[in-house]
């Protein structure tokens, strides 16, 4: 959380201090943004095979995202932001896991086809003259 505020910088702190009175009515914009980012990552993971390849990571990401939204709704800005950050990286890991499994499968299939092709090529090549 300290880090989050350090990113904003002192100017942001000053503005936040001024707007404390008015900011209470809605979710924190920073948390909102992190939640939006996490949501996008979860959706991308869902569409890229993560439900099959990395169901646990994806479920964790969804759970954290839901909790982040809940916390944000309850104006618990800090937990909301932390949970959203975690949900985002969890979803990315889930997506990357699916992608990695696809690549591995493709590589194995390719290796097999190459092996078959080499054997075929050896068989059909004419004897050295």
């Amino acid at each position: 959380m300290d880090r989050i505020f350090s990113r904003l910088g002192k100017t942001a702190l000053a503005i936040a201090a001024i707007s404390v009175g008015t900011a209470a009515y809605a979710g924190n914009p920073l948390a909102d943004e992190k939640i939006a980012v996490a949501k996008a990552s979860v959706e991308r993971a869902e569409q890229s095979g993560a439900p099959q390849a990395a169901p646990v990571e994806l479920a964790t990401a969804r759970d954290k995202l839901a909790r982040a939204e809940k916390a944000n709704a309850a104006h618990e800005v800090k937990p909301a932001a932390l949970l959203a950050e975690q949900a985002d990286i969890d979803a990315q890991v889930a997506e990357a896991t699916a992608q990695q499994q696809r690549a591995k499968k493709a590589a194995i299939e390719f290796d097999m086809s190459m092996q078959a092709l080499r054997q075929e090529s050896l068989r059909s090549s004419p004897p050295a003259q």
Binding site: M1, Q86, A96, K104, F110, L117
Partner: protein
């Protein structure tokens, strides 16, 4: 060396005195391990350098919090560092596989191209040799035809028949004229070129004179030609001779022109398979 070591120890002591209890945080340890193994993976440096950078930054935040004993501030960056390090390794592994397949694709194309080229080459070679064989066959038959044309041989049921007129012989005699040589030379050349072919030399006469005289004369004339071929180097086993007398006339015997045609020696040339020429059955 000693001075450096001592300096190191004194710094460590100073830090240790500052940090009263050395930080041992499981989340931080986990993050350190994962970032370290991602750093050690050459694929990560090649394919996921930005993610590795992000992981190291998060780890640094966690380390800084640890130095300041801010236990509450360690967990989040440590978790993010650990997960980002995993992300980097997953992405790098996938990209390494992709790259390997992409590189192999080129090799595969090459192998397939080579195989196709070999097929085309071998088909071309086969077509070439088939054409060459055809050309040779055509040439051979053209040569044969030219030779037969030169000999004025005619195809018949028994084989190719070359007729040597009676001009080879003096009337009533069986010795070859000196002028016969050139005619026979062409036949010798043909038999030399086609060593498998056998020949039968057949002698015929007109109807003038007795049967036995004509048979005898026709046989001696055929023998004379056979002998002439043998003396010119043709193997005797390839040549048989037969006198048929006045039989098998090719023209009328009632005028001198027809009789001249009937006085003849025919050379029957056997097939390329070396089969003997069948003797003529008497009618």
């Amino acid at each position: 060396m000693n001075i450096k070591l001592l300096t190191g120890i004194s710094v460590a002591l100073a830090m240790a005195s500052c940090a009263s209890t050395p930080t041992s945080n499981p989340a931080l340890d986990n993050a350190r391990n994962l970032v370290r193994s991602a750093e050690a993976d050459p694929h990560v440096a090649m394919y996921a350098a930005l993610d590795l950078e992000a992981a190291k930054k998060e780890l640094q935040v966690a380390e800084t919090a640890a130095i300041h004993h801010d236990e509450a501030a360690i967990a989040q960056p440590a978790y993010l560092a650990a997960q980002t390090a995993r992300l980097a390794q997953l992405k790098a592994t996938a990209k390494a596989d992709d790259a390997r397949v992409a590189a192999g694709q080129t090799e595969r194309d090459k192998i397939q191209l080579n195989a196709r080229t070999r097929e085309v080459d071998s088909a071309t070679r086969e077509a070439d040799s088939a054409k060459m064989a055809r050309d040779q066959e055509v040439q051979k038959s053209a040569n044969l035809q030219a030779e037969l044309d030169a000999l004025k041989a005619k195809p018949t049921d028994r084989g190719l028949v070359l007729t040597l007129g009676d001009v080879l012989f003096d009337s009533g005699r069986a010795e070859l004229n000196p002028g016969a040589s050139r005619n026979l030379d062409q036949l010798v050349q043909f038999l030399t070129d086609h060593p498998a072919r056998r020949v039968e030399i057949d002698g015929y006469t007109d109807s003038v004179g007795t049967e036995s005289f004509n048979l005898n004369l026709s046989q001696r004339r055929a023998d004379a030609v056979r002998y002439a071929l043998i003396t010119r180097g043709i193997d005797s086993s390839r040549i048989v001779s037969q006198g048929y007398g006045k039989d098998f006339a090719v023209a009328t015997n009632s005028d001198s022109g027809g009789r001249q045609l009937n006085r003849r020696v025919e050379v029957v040339i056997g097939g390329e398979n070396g089969a003997a020429v069948a003797a003529r059955g008497r009618d």
